[in-house]
């Protein structure tokens, strides 16, 4: 064991590997921070270069880009209300209000620290519990998956805002648009209008850009931009204090755990983890009403959730050879090109190599802190750019980003369509978050329901087949019960407090 660790250390210890992890991280943060340039794209672009590198250097470079991009997504989410990566969509909800209050620096710091802590935990669990977690994750078949998603869907109510009806309208719209594309079981078309561009369904990034960034810009255009400098984003609020960090530590740790758990199950990814961590933080908070209006803890929870996934998505990849998301699929490709196949044999045949990669991964948490600090300094200058210049630039980035995902003009049109829809939602006070959650989880919900029923030939008994099923079934019921109780309580409080007010007011 120890000789393998030492061998791994000595394999790792060269300047190229350090450069790879640092350079990859910086590249990832920058790419992640630019809306539409996703980590997937950066990793895919870097992949051919790794063909000519030592396998350790190549893989560490890709891992650095991956982690950097997931963190980097929070920067633009906070500063310009456009999540750089889908996983950062949840960070927008409190990050942008904080920026509007002039506390962008605090929010950026919190996002960085939360990301680093979660990343560290994620790496630890990858290194020490990979085999155990992977075999546990394998027990998630279609019915277990379905009930997990059911539980996750109850968080929609948690982020629905003031009106549950408006939240449900938003979620229904998200579900509707998520059904576009080819049917999974029969291969027939749904809502595609015989347009081949729609056959693959709506792309995630244009929907995201359209939903978050464009409505803000349309709103600015309609109302007219006033003032020279954007007084909204001034950074005089100062950095994060130790007390503020400690206050959110519980949420960060909880988020890291949620991130690890969801990241280890192939096919879920960072966005649902961030939302779940966020809603749990809200539920656990003494001031849940502050969430969505600029609560530091919300940024912390969301970023801990999505970065907690990063190390954990490597668990199914390394232990089983199953990529949990698109980026790890590309990293799998990098392994294959070097004639290495991730999976149980990798640990038997190439243990020093695995340890060398682990050393690099551990180092990446530290590197994230360094590169994050550097780039916050750079990106924070965005806040000094006058709106008249900033907004058009953001608009160009939005269109470019939509196009670049798949090199398709159709995606730009989709972003514009979503932008108009998002603008009306903004004006009518319909929250975006339920739309997004439904759009992400809807297909998982449907696919796993149908898979389960295919397996059981239509019998619902399959949803009680295992301990995991019962566990999530119980959580779902509990979650709904708590929601109902809370809203009843609130209504009662309102009715008792409102009456005298209405007399005096």
């Amino acid at each position: 064991m120890w000789e393998n660790v030492l061998q791994g250390l000595s394999n790792f210890a060269n300047i190229y590997n350090l450069l790879a992890i640092g350079g990859g991280m910086l590249m990832g943060v920058v790419v992640g921070a630019i809306p539409g340039l996703t980590g997937t794209m950066a990793v895919a672009l870097a992949l051919p270069f790794t063909f000519y590198m030592d396998p350790i250097t190549g893989i560490i470079l890709l891992v650095g880009i991956y982690k950097g991009a997931i963190y980097g997504g929070s920067i633009s989410a906070i500063l310009i209300k456009t999540p750089g990566t889908p996983a950062a969509a949840c960070t927008v909800m409190d990050g942008y209000p904080l920026a509007q209050k002039g506390q962008a620096r605090k929010a950026l710091d919190m996002a960085l620290y939360a990301s680093c802590v979660a990343d560290f935990f994620s790496n630890i669990s990858l290194i020490f519990f990979a085999g155990f977690i992977a075999s546990f994750a394998l027990r998630f078949g279609p019915p277990e998956f379905f009930l997990l998603i059911c539980f996750s869907l109850t968080i929609i109510a948690g982020v629905a805002g003031k009106s549950l009806i408006k939240g449900l309208i938003s979620a229904a719209l998200g579900l509707l648009l998520a059904t576009v594309g080819m049917d999974l079981v029969y291969g027939s078309d749904r809502l595609t209008f015989d347009n081949p561009d729609l056959m693959g369904g709506l792309n995630f990034i244009p929907v995201l850009i359209g939903l978050f960034a464009l409505p803000e810009l349309i709103d600015a255009a309609v109302r007219g931009v006033t003032g020279g400098k954007s007084d909204l984003h001034r950074l005089d609020g100062g950095g994060l204090t130790r007390g503020e960090f400690m206050h959110s530590l519980k949420s960060i740790l909880r988020g890291s755990f949620i991130g690890v758990a969801l990241g280890a199950i192939p096919g879920i990814g960072g966005a649902p983890a961030a939302f779940m961590s966020y809603s749990e933080a809200k539920r656990g908070s003494k001031h849940p009403e502050n969430f969505g209006h600029g609560e530091l803890e919300g940024v912390a929870a969301s970023e801990a959730g999505n970065n907690g996934c990063c190390g954990a998505t490597m668990i199914p990849l390394l232990a089983l050879g199953v990529p949990g998301d698109v980026i790890t699929a590309v990293i799998l490709g990098a392994f294959m090109v070097h004639n290495l196949t991730p999976g149980p044999m990798l640990f038997q045949q190439h243990l020093p190599l695995v340890y060398a990669i682990f050393v690099g991964i551990m180092l990446s948490s530290l590197m994230m802190l360094v590169m994050g600090k550097l780039s916050i300094r750079g990106f924070a200058k965005i806040a000094d750019v006058p709106k008249q210049i900033l907004f058009p630039v953001v608009l160009v980035l939005c269109f470019f980003g939509s196009y670049a995902v798949n090199n398709s003009m159709f995606d730009v049109l989709a972003a514009v369509f979503m932008g108009v829809l998002g603008y009306f939602m903004l004006r009518l006070g319909i929250p975006e978050a339920p739309f997004l959650i439904a759009f992400i989880l809807g297909p998982m919900f449907e696919d796993n329901l149908r898979r389960s029923l295919l397996l059981s030939a239509g019998s619902p008994v399959i949803f009680f087949r295992s301990g995991i099923c019962i566990f999530f079934l119980g959580l779902t019921v509990l979650s709904i019960f708590l929601l109902v109780r809370r809203s009843v309580k609130q209504r009662r409080q309102r009715s008792t407090t409102c009456d005298p007010e209405s007399v005096t007011g």
């Binding site: 895919a44 998630f140 291969g187 081949p196 693959g200 369904g201 050879g321 699929a329 149980p344 696919d447």
Partner: protein, 328 residues
Amino acid sequence: MKGKRFVVVIFAALAAVALLGGIAFAEYPTKPVTLVAPYGPGGASDLAARSLAAVAPSYVKEPVVVVNRTGAGGVVGSAVVARSKPNGYTLLLSRVGCNGVAPAINMKTPYTWDGFTFLGLLELNPVVYVVQSTSPFKSLKEAVEAIKKSPGKYSYSTSGPTTILNMGFQKLLADADLPSSAVKMVPYKGGGGAKTALLGGHVDFLCINLSTVIDQIQAGKLRALAVTTPERFPMIPEVPTVKEAGFPDLDVIIGWSGLWGPPKLPANVVNVWTEALQQVAKDKTWLKMTKSLGSLPYIKSPEETKAFVKKQFTVYRQLGEKLGLVIK
């Protein structure tokens, strides 16, 4: 008289332009070539595209840029190339799924199997029939017997109805004279999900690209019942071929990648690529990359390629019609 001379001059000028144009065209390529990979990064097709793009510039003298145009199981990317200008600057990394199975099964596919210019076949990806190592089935025959005895009891995972993963298993059932409903099909959104379902014991069978599962086979987690190559595959020498396993017709179930262009590609472009591919076939880097991905290098001329794809198309069309899978 003057007018006539004017007309002559105009014609001469036009002829010169046409000629120059012709010469300019003969110098292909003069700028980077875009290679559309119709599936997402990291998959077999993407890696095939990137391996080709890594070595082809030495032989065509211009960079080859891989662009992923994903969606609808490769149909979106293929459709983009089918509609693009036939100037040789937009080519397609074709795949069995979107260029063989889809046009055979789904009539709504916006192109036909031969609605392209064939430049060459690149590689074959052997397909294996696998079960968990704890499964009681030691051979394909045993599995088929068990299915016959209790239809509807067992299940298999796929990456969707019109994919080689599904057609491969359906062909096995058809060759064993079993109805397509004898085993439950559980579709996933990719080969990775289908593989996880088998590893977790949520389904009983899987028919999939060898490269996806070779590690688990070697580690003894999964048992391969048969491989669809004509001869035993060197990386898994103990696994019988489909012929040895008693189902000789299953050898048509095999993955492939090729290089296609839009229809009516000029002859000089075709020549440039045919010659370049002959060089690629001998390129050590390309051979090494392709083999390390678990594929068989299989570079063929445009004519051989067309014959090969036609045969593939016919197999899937007949199978689709027999099973009632054709989407009108």
